[in-house]
Symmetry: C2
Subunit: 575 residues, 2 copies
Amino acid sequence: MWRSSFYQRASRVFNDHPTVARLLVVVSVSGGGVAAFSDAKPVSGGDSKKKKVVVIGTGWAGTSFLKTLKNDSYQVEIVSPRNYFAFTPLLPSVTCGTVEARSIVEPIRTIVRKKGLEAKFTEAECYKIDPVGRKVYCRAAPQKNVEGKEEFTVDYDYLVIAMGARSNTFNTPGVVENCHFLKEIEDGQRIRRSVINCFEKASLPNLTEEERKKILHFVVVGGGPSGVEFAAELHDLVNEDLAKIYPAVKGLVRITLLEAGDHILNMFDKRITEFAEWKFGREGIDVKTGSMVVKVTDKEISTKERATGELVSVPYGMVVWSTGIGTRPVVAEFMKQIGQTSRRALATDEWLRVEGCDNIYALGDCATINQRKVMEDILAIFSKADKNNTGKLSAKDFQEVIHDIVERYPQLEIYLKRKQLKNIVELLKKAHETDKMSDETIDIDKFKAALSQADAQMKNLPATAQVAAQQGSYLADCFNRMEQCETYPEGPLRFRGTGRHRFHPFRYRHFGQFAPLGGEQTAAQLPGDFVNIGYSSQWLWYSVYASKLVSWRTRFLVISDWTRRFVFGRDSSRI
Amino acid sequence: MWRSSFYQRASRVFNDHPTVARLLVVVSVSGGGVAAFSDAKPVSGGDSKKKKVVVIGTGWAGTSFLKTLKNDSYQVEIVSPRNYFAFTPLLPSVTCGTVEARSIVEPIRTIVRKKGLEAKFTEAECYKIDPVGRKVYCRAAPQKNVEGKEEFTVDYDYLVIAMGARSNTFNTPGVVENCHFLKEIEDGQRIRRSVINCFEKASLPNLTEEERKKILHFVVVGGGPSGVEFAAELHDLVNEDLAKIYPAVKGLVRITLLEAGDHILNMFDKRITEFAEWKFGREGIDVKTGSMVVKVTDKEISTKERATGELVSVPYGMVVWSTGIGTRPVVAEFMKQIGQTSRRALATDEWLRVEGCDNIYALGDCATINQRKVMEDILAIFSKADKNNTGKLSAKDFQEVIHDIVERYPQLEIYLKRKQLKNIVELLKKAHETDKMSDETIDIDKFKAALSQADAQMKNLPATAQVAAQQGSYLADCFNRMEQCETYPEGPLRFRGTGRHRFHPFRYRHFGQFAPLGGEQTAAQLPGDFVNIGYSSQWLWYSVYASKLVSWRTRFLVISDWTRRFVFGRDSSRI
């Protein structure tokens, strides 16, 4: 009675020696022992002199921003309908119980608290943004009935929009009503229950074999990495675990993967696509390419086959819809407000600032970078380089601005790489050679001609966790050095204006892309045309993702989930 | 590509050497390594010559029955709306995230498969029992829409009813609509989400302190072990984990425990009750005894104070209702059918056979043993003992039947213990002494007088997991030895009839009762008036429960959950 609990005492020890806490956890995890990890830095009250940064969303972009934000000269307020960050690459594993949902989430309050950031979190949804009055309108979820006080507004000095996207149904009738999505944690949990429910349903008496087959027909729509991984996980679940405990119906299971394009995993290297299609074919997963879903009823899914134009309807037990992302209504509304009507996401400049707004930033799946075209600025670039206004540029003139040009217009770098040239000077030299001119200088027309193809290299960034995470930490880094860079700008020359940009523009670094294919096989496509398919890739994949955002808690939990699954198999309880 | 997965291979090794598998798992768990554990005994098709045992329910009683049933001369069919067994003593821990829901469940199909039992499981609810036609009517859950084929009947030769009870609301208005129960796994998960939801709700802006306090007022109705444990767990959750991440509202939390009786934990020893009340008082949990809930609206809970007769209404944020159990509608309906109308549960004899039915057994919370009274059979007992029909019984006459009497009427044993007598002979001797008679024999009137108080010792068994589990394994053991005991009956003499009963009657062995009180303290009341309150009791408690029904999987998962909680705290993500 008189002594305090062992947990509390252990915890206190680590609080008194916070610097050793992290190390101790590592040791404890690898050694199989246990240790307490806790650091309680007080979050002080609001300071009205500080600029207020409002972050909307707690996905990859928002969380990465919060994790990198250091400067305590901001007052941070976070609004999101989810009070946690979810490690979404493992979501397909959640659907089949390879990993538990709770193992891949991290409460945002804990993340913020551990950072010692002065931040306030409110669990609510933003439904309107007022860029003139500098405030966002929010509404708490319906289960938070507080007598008309669910709605409130939040003022901001800086607004960071990171609210992601929604699943895209392409307005296909019946999808919302009858399909499962693969986007939120709840989706993963629902799918898991639904799979087991199908097996229990098919085990009911009085059914014909035809009916059982129908119930055990699992359809996955969309041959992207998520859809493919779910199909592979489902196949593993059925064959490794469920076949043993549902022996009467195991032979009736069918998994169909529908893809509207010519190949599954079409954003990957051809070798990976081919391997995946071969592997799925061997395992009995029915891959149907060129098959576009046109309607889903509560019993059947109808597709139009591109090759024949034929309409086919097949009965199903469960459909998982994973075809890509669409714009959230609030983002679409905001885009209309600020006159951005032609795009699927909020257009920003290379510094992630929303075009046409002040102090509003957008990142992750809800944003797209509207990259500046070389050809639009070609005169400005020429005149910046031609300091003496001679109308001609020499190689020496270029040397001075070459770095700025490439930084401001990264498509140039890709273009040069593609042409196997070292830099612009070489490109211009080459232009000379073809013209057979001995003059070392170049005029505006030649300059235009040499660079005319560069803009074709511009590509939108993929809507991936990697991009969102990099944007989040990039932006936070800018915020961290806002004052310093105001005085000492570090960015490229402003070709249209004067002086330099405060910051370097955002630059995405591709670390490769992974597609787990089931049976502990993962296809990896890494930078430099390196393709790897096999058992080691999964660990490579995990270690890449684990590098930045994942907490020790998540690592430990996921590894312990894998251990559980390895020893005991996946659980088939319908909870 | 060519090599099969490591998991599969490892798994195969263990399948080939099943005898070492169990050992290997133990080693791997303690050593931190991993190993596969899998044994796949085929479940063969139905055999019409075998007697068919239908088990309704997969709780403690049903699962314990299935785990003990050995004889492969039965064909077993299980019907339950839950395809898993839940280790319910840890349910209060699930509500606060100390243990994960999935860690305390075990799929019933896996349990049955590991036993090598020929058993068929159907996930459906029994809604009617036909004891004449020997069949049960079942219905699959609504989400299993299979075009009118949700309903089916199951024939039986033996029926084992183990469908448990429901939460009892005592028809208090508003309870079903506004309260959480603490009975099923889903309840635990819902409560967990609801607690976090209350904290997020209280953190919304624009609320007055009064409103926040209201939202963070947690009310627990019922001072039994479940209610007390939930209150204690909630207190720990708030103080150990949530206080850190909801610093703004932590001071506004209030936990109230309402108990209609005079004390909480009133089935326990007075020392435990006093300690619990003292501990809760010190920790700020508001214990209100003599307070009966009369109404619950969506905002307020109204109680009637027994001492003053006063009606009090208090606003709340969440109410957990844990006041005991009531009869399931299907059981009530069945009781009406067979003429049992006066009881709250199915009356059985001491062999767990439902009174008035053939080949129907009932066990667990849905049943109650209608113990035979000594006084009802007093003439039969006397005449059985008085073999020579002398109208008098000597001590020697008794010696022969004493064992049978005590076995058939266990209340006698309790009565004797209470009187501090060794056996009936001593009791009769004592009767003689008071009569100051020298005669060593006794007549029927004296016999009656000596035993007249014995029946007062009869008590219904508590509705606990321990009782249900013991009944399940007792009944299975009877089934296992059905043929053998038909020939060589092992039970006591039939005092009313002739010969012996086939089996020993069911006898409950009390291993003690535990009430976790939070902060790793557990109160234990063990047989022999031994009371223990402290840190060691929790492990004692677990080891008692763990002894029989719990699989290695559950043990491993629960311990790993405790480790997770110890290292990382409880998770506060609202999923």
